[in-house]
Amino acid sequence: MLGDKSAALETLRQQITAIETNPALKDSGDVAIPDGFLATPRGSLHEVFADSLIGAGPALGFAFAQAKSLVDPVRPAILYLQLQSDALETGLPYGLGLKKFGLPAEQVVFVRPQTIIELLWAVEEAIACKAVAAVVADIGHAHKALDFTASRRMSLRTAASGASVFLVRYARDREASAAKFRWKVVPELSRSPAFDERAPGPPRWRVVLEKGSLGKRRRVAPDGEEYLVDWSENGFVLADIESRHGVAAVPRRPALPYAASAALGDRLSEAG
């Protein structure tokens, strides 16, 4: 009786050691974080959350920005996956817009499956490829097939292969998932370019790292690390968190005292 118990305990212990020594299952804290602002390690599963489908631009922008940082000559490709039905609602990434965003359109391949099962299959198939840097899966709605088991499976595969996966989700409540990092991206009022206070500037996001850690603890918000960043073609720029309300304030004096006429010509910002 006693012998049985100790034998069972021994096998359990062995199992636990096996799990602990498996590199794929290590806690995110043990993974070496690469240098660079907001840089994430290769081969990790991320979830990028936006509150609603209206926030589709910033969340996708953040995912693409992260994916771009993972591209190198050995892993040149980024795959974008979206259900065909979702594209009708939120639109497809626009080739010229991607170029303006700093991502050459020929680097991104769009995969448009019809069902979530096909989408998950495509994600796995893409992870297995040695030349894929990152997979951005844009998932408009919650699906039953995308549960904890599915995310666990993806997380193990990414860790084994070295390609990162970004699941872009649109919801306020969080489901259980095995993702190593969970981000929340909220758009913020942008800093106006010089000489034109009424024009929008480069994208500015408030990025909250709700799960996982980049090592440098910057606990600003109670629910995780929080960064206020601007995106430029060259990468993230940390915007000063303290002054964000000051910059975003309504301009003291409009550029022109009256409503400008379209006849004044092209008022697109000169400063980009």
Binding site: V74, R75, G91, G95, E106, V109, F110, V186
Partner: protein
Amino acid sequence: MLHLPRWATDCLKRADPALAQSDKPLVLWEKQRGAMRVAALDQQASAEGLSVGQSLSDARALVPNLETREIDQAFTGQVFADFSDWHSNASPIVSVVADHAPYGDLCLDITGVSHLFSGEQAMLAQLISRLEALGYAVDGAVASTIGAAWALAHFAPGQVLAEGEEGRALSYLPVSALRLDEPQIAGLVQLGLKRIGQLYERDRSSMQARFGASFLLRLDQALGWAEEKLVPRLPLVEHFAEHRFADPIGLMDDVLMCTHDLAVQLSLRLERQGIGAQAFHLFLYRVDHKVMTLSVNAARATRDAGHISRLFAYRAERLGGEYDAGFGIDMIRLAASSMSPLQAAQVGAFGVDDGAATLDHLYDRMASRLGALAVVQSYPVNTHVPERAVKLVPVLAAAAEPEVVAPLVRAPRPLRLLPQPEPINVIAEVPDAPPASMVWRRVTYRFVKASGPERIAAEWRNADQALSLTAETIEAAKTSGGPDGYYEEGTLSRDYYIAEDDGGRRFWLFRLGLLGIARKPRWYMHGFFP
């Protein structure tokens, strides 16, 4: 040449067993010039003395217990086309000779094939007997020209004609054996020219003047003086591997296993010749004369057997419930097309693996499972109209895409573009000011910042299609544009604004039509910025 005189009734009887078992004569009718006329008969009905072209009421009066159906010409022709494809298990070149009727005549080019069936006579007997076993009435003949074979199959079936014998063999057949049309036959008979042999010695120019060039052409084609080409229904394949089964197989797994074996055979053959292929086709010949075709494409030429069979496995997965082996598959053929030279390459010691090959394999696998149109890449187009400035090209076809110099765009572009601009309600301080707020999808957004306008004029050469955006704009273009959608300066121009709302979300909006020119400018929402 195989001739199936009772195809229409036979194929209906095969589809409907109750019809096959009934002993009533079957007649198919169709409406011709307002009257119901007999279009096809079965064996019993013609034994009763009925004939094609008779009116249906006459036929009913003659044979009271007649079974009648309306003929579906399109369906019958389609089934015959599938049926003819199935015959490609006997010969690679099969075509339907539709000169006389859209179905019923099948021509096989058996050059270099007949020895596989131990001779032409034996091959003819074999093809005919296997169709008779399926319950078809069938006649056949072998000759060296299409015209002669047609004539023999219709009027003196069962013969195998040696080359050069056409003139003698055809001379006793009636002139209607030449695939002529009704007025020509009637004219010839009126002149007393009832047999083909009587035409040989006639003066050609006077015959041409009387009956037209097509008459001489048909005569020459039958005698082998003018060449006639078959139009094969399936594209010709030079490289293929095939496997015949003694017992028909049914399971998809068995098919895939066999496909792998065939892929290995095919790749060895391709390797010997130093070529690779980009398209592979799998033909599954079912015992009940149907052919299933599966095709896969590769982004770059390949002969990797493992890759080919994996592509077919994914393709089969997409097939799902559509796969139906019927009574079994007795032959599988794997064919390759789109060949290009592919030399064996040695992996260099200093070469850098850029991953392009593995990526192409990945796209192949995805396209075979999800469909070629589901794996796309965006390509620039030489235009300024935003929704047309980019097109999605399947990755598999991307190599063939010509290089385009797209116009340089300096202004910002959104990260996401809606599939169709959506009409919105916009409030602006003055009509030509940037928007102050909008209602989109029943939600109001208040803008705090905006920049623009960026004016994009319509392309006059596409003015008639420029606005097939939404139902309203099509309507608007009809009323505001000139007659027949002529281009009118200003009505179709767009002013684009980037507007940022109080939550920091940035949208791409445009006003269609210039103020003061367009009768009723409208606002649309077109995309999201990051």
